[in-house]
């Protein structure tokens, strides 16, 4: 799921804890510590209270393959359920999948549980998945998540401009409850992806009139849309779906998403008990939210990070001298100082290119000392680089960033100061007014210096932090990084037949990144949230989104 403009821009601060388990209750939340409710919806903790939570207006109609931002994503995840869902720690749990089997990481046989149905009465079958995926991938339907089906054989044909084919040859319905997927190359983490919004099934009604369906979707998830439930720009009301029998059974009487244009307004509502769950404390309140909320807050790492891209096409950062300069800049940044002073002691300094909440994460990869502040070493490296090829006289090292969200300007200016103070160059912020303009600049690949970047995982996998960002020609490879050795390792990791085996190879591939530093990792993102006095059992998932189904009223 991608950042919304706001969430990307807003400062998310303070990750004190190392893992989800260590900090879920570490915030002193009574709710999180006894939060085993939810699985069964037992008598204790179960309630009929309707929970109110903050959200933003979904950017698009509620179609799985067209929902790529948090406002729509959190609603979709409650209205629909896919083959798997993720538990609080990000591990996949079978929802509709009976089994997902493969021998070669290329051909998958997927069996789904029988007897499931959509809220309009239509049964969920293998065809519901195959049709939905074909719909999502086909270019003519212009679905934003289309690229998610990239690895399925035949995607290139349905996604091409003026495509005449609209079904992928890699998808085959075997019988009512079984279908097979053939990928165009081995991908061991394919099953991990299947909990993402894009892979949800759809009933036949969705294809007849996608627009009308997107306004009033019939899903198969733990909740369904109330009658006239989506009041645009005001609220989205969900009520429990009695037909749902998966692991995310609701223990409350429904969830109402109130749509806010600012997190400040939502925060005031939270203080006034006019809102039950807020998943983002506004930057202006980061200093005092813990005092304001007593024990009703959380501060935990989620699957996202912040980095600084140094494009590979910059002549000063190529070759051996370039590598030294990248390391020098990385070591000139005192990450902890910035975290303490600008993010109020929160966040957690980066030790790799992924996130600590992802299975397989390691904080001790060989070569990660390049991410630690070391002024002496940085100056040494810079001097060595100068001997090979001198830095152009008078050239300023710029860091481009949009400044329409609070915090960006402050931390980048601080970072630029640290670089200027440590190294014999001048570094400064190149401010861009809006996120929109920033994306255009980065997309055109015409930067003359570094730029602010970050990534939020779509699904909990190490590969998701590496492949889409650093593989040659990958969709989000903003800095045009290319290293055949790294590409080869990614392919190897994907061909592994187990997730563990794959993770080992992916971590090995990160050692190459630590040498090349296509981006300079800064810190891991954390979610700061709070809840009202009227609810309990509030937990936040691996992606920073609250586990709404498990929240109980008091």
């Amino acid at each position: 799921m991608r950042y919304t403009r706001t969430s990307k821009a807003l400062v998310l601060s303070a990750a004190l804890a190392l893992t989800l388990s260590a900090c879920g209750g570490g915030a002193g939340s009574t709710g999180a510590s006894n939060g085993s409710a939810g699985a069964t919806g037992g008598a204790e903790g179960s309630s009929t209270a309707v929970i109110t939570a903050n959200s933003t207006e979904p950017q698009n109609g509620l179609l799985p393959a067209n929902t790529n931002e948090v406002g729509g994503g959190r609603v979709m995840d409650l209205l629909f359920t896919g083959l798997v869902s993720y538990d609080a720690a990000g591990a996949p749990v079978n929802e509709l999948a009976e089994s997902i089997e493969t021998k070669d990481a290329t051909n998958y046989t997927i069996k789904i549980k029988s007897g499931q149905k959509f809220s309009n009465g239509e049964p969920v079958t293998a065809k519901s998945f195959v049709d939905a995926w074909n719909f999502g991938a086909a270019a003519k339907n212009a679905q934003l998540n289309s690229y998610f089906f990239e690895s399925i054989k035949g995607y290139d044909k349905v996604s091409a401009k003026d495509a005449t084919v609209d079904t992928m040859e890699g998808l085959k319905v075997v019988d009512e409850n079984t279908f097979t997927v053939e990928l165009s190359r081995a991908e061991s983490d394919f099953p991990l992806r299947l909990g993402y919004t894009a892979f949800y099934p759809l009933p036949a009604a969705a294809f007849e009139d996608p627009k009308a369906f997107g306004e009033n979707p019939a899903g198969n998830g733990p909740y369904k849309l109330a009658d006239d439930g989506w009041q645009h720009n005001v609220q989205i009301q969900l009520v429990p779906n009695a037909d749902y029998s998966g692991p995310r059974k609701p223990v409350n009487g429904g969830v109402t998403f109130k749509i806010y244009s600012t997190f400040d307004a939502a925060y005031q509502d939270l203080l006034g008990d006019n809102l039950d769950v807020l998943d983002q404390i506004p930057p202006s309140q980061l200093q005092n939210f813990k005092d304001d909320l007593g024990d009703r807050w959380v501060n935990q790492a989620y699957a996202g990070n912040a980095t600084m891209t140094i494009p590979s096409y910059l002549p000063e950062f190529q070759g051996e001298a370039g590598q030294m300069r990248r390391a020098a800049i990385s070591m000139a940044i005192n990450r902890q100082e910035i975290i303490d002073n600008i993010f109020f002691g929160g966040k957690q300094i980066a030790k790799d290119f992924t996130s600590p909440v992802i299975d397989g994460y390691s904080d001790s990869l060989p070569g990660n000392e390049v991410l630690a502040f070391n002024a002496e070493k940085a100056q040494q490296l810079w001097a060595d680089a100068e001997k090979i090829s001198p830095w152009p006289a008078g050239k300023v090292f710029t860091i481009t960033s949009n400044i329409d969200g609070a915090g960006n300007k402050e931390y980048i200016e601080a970072m630029a100061n640290q670089i200027s103070n440590t190294l014999p160059i001048k570094a400064e912020l190149n401010p861009i007014p809006t996120f929109k303009e920033m994306r255009t600049l980065v997309g055109e690949k015409k930067l003359t210096g570094a730029s602010r970047a970050g990534w939020q995982a779509d699904y909990p996998s190490l590969y998701n932090f590496l492949g889409p960002l650093y593989a040659t020609g990958a969709g989000s490879n903003d800095g045009d990084y290319s290293n055949p050795e790294f590409d080869k390792m990614l392919t190897e990791g994907l061909s592994a037949t187990s997730v563990e085996e794959g993770n080992k190879i992916f971590n090995k591939s990160q050692e190459i990144l630590l040498k090349d530093l296509p981006v300079v990792p800064l810190w891991y993102q954390a979610v700061q949230g709070g809840w009202s006095t009227k609810v309990a059992d509030v937990k936040f998932g691996w992606n920073g989104v609250p586990m709404y189904y498990a929240i109980t009223g008091k």
């Binding site: 403009r5 950017q59 091409a160 509502d269 996120f435 990958a474």
Partner: protein, 308 residues
């Protein structure tokens, strides 16, 4: 009078076309690609990107885009938002809320502004006058968002007299607090304007004559002083209705009011041309209409002003 009114209505047409053209151009010229922003930094299938661009005419040069927009406008089609809703629907939902808020704010500032202004003017130099003058100065000096946050926190969160934000359906009761915040700065101006005007007219010849004729003090103040003093105030209030509707962006943000201001703010962020142009055009229309009403009120307030 009827010709005058008709003429003024006909003038709306060029104003409208001019406004849409200008706004359309500004949005077109603004840097940043809305389709790239739509994908939020994640990759996008090029074919999908192209389809979307074509769907919103973004692949066309400026004049073609604008003429296509006008063509649709003739059939009352204001275009679509990126989420596929008709812009006319979106505005039809947001407009009444902002109108309600602006009218409440206007009523608030008119009633209290004129009332306090008249009293202060009549009691020039007394304690009430000085207190009100100082208070109005403070209100003018403090930015709206500060006033908004403070009132929201004190009244909404601490005292619990009102909800901190506006609830579903934007009921009148929820809008009281934001309307006060929205109208407060204008109230200060109305008050000062009324006060000055009253002081001026209080010593005018016709007022002395009226008093000398033995009219009651009440009649002198209401009919002679007030009626003449209201002319500049009405001008201000009329123009202020347009300002209030446009200026609601800050207040609507603080109190999360689902109105025009919030809509415009998010549309600008997304670079959603049809919504921006439509909202701004509506605001222009409101502004022009309010000025028309002011002109008509003039004639009623001051028979010396005649339009042919």
């Amino acid at each position: 009078m009827i010709t005058f009114t008709l003429k003024r209505f006909l003038q709306l047409l060029p104003v409208f076309i001019g406004a849409t053209l200008l706004v359309y151009f500004l949005v077109f010229a603004a840097p940043g690609d809305p389709i790239a922003a739509l994908s939020g930094g994640k990759p996008m299938n090029p074919a999908v990107e192209e389809t979307l661009r074509a769907q919103y005419n973004l692949d066309q040069p400026f004049w073609v885009q604008y003429l296509l927009y006008l063509k649709n406008l003739v059939t009352f089609d204001l275009g679509q938002t990126f989420s596929g809703q008709a812009v006319s629907d979106v505005i039809a939902r947001a407009f009444p809320v902002t109108a309600k808020l602006a009218i409440m704010a206007l009523a608030f500032e008119a009633v209290f502004g004129i009332l306090f202004g008249v009293i202060a003017g009549l009691k020039k130099g007394k304690l009430f006058d000085s207190t009100v003058l100082v208070a109005s100065l403070i209100v003018i000096a403090v930015p709206t968002f500060v006033l908004g946050f403070v009132l929201q926190f004190v009244v909404g969160v601490k005292l619990g007299w009102a909800k901190p934000t506006v609830g579903v359906g934007a009921p009148w009761s929820d809008l009281i607090l934001p309307a006060i915040v929205l109208g407060l700065v204008s109230l200060a101006y109305v008050l000062r304007l009324t006060r000055t005007s009253v002081i001026e007219n209080k010593n005018a010849d016709y007022v002395r004559t009226a008093t000398a004729k033995g009219l009651s003090r009440r009649r002198v103040i209401v009919v002679h002083v007030l009626r003449n003093s209201l002319i500049p105030v009405v001008t201000f209030l009329g123009a202020d209705l347009g300002t209030l509707m446009g200026g609601a962006i800050v207040t609507e943000g603080i109190f999360n009011v689902p109105g025009i201001g919030n809509l415009l703010y998010s549309a600008i962020n997304k670079g959603e041309t049809p919504t921006i142009v439509a909202v701004v055009s509506v605001l222009v229309l409101v502004f022009v209409l309010a000025n028309l009403v002011v002109d008509l009120l003039y004639a009623w307030l001051d028979p010396r002003i005649r339009y042919v």
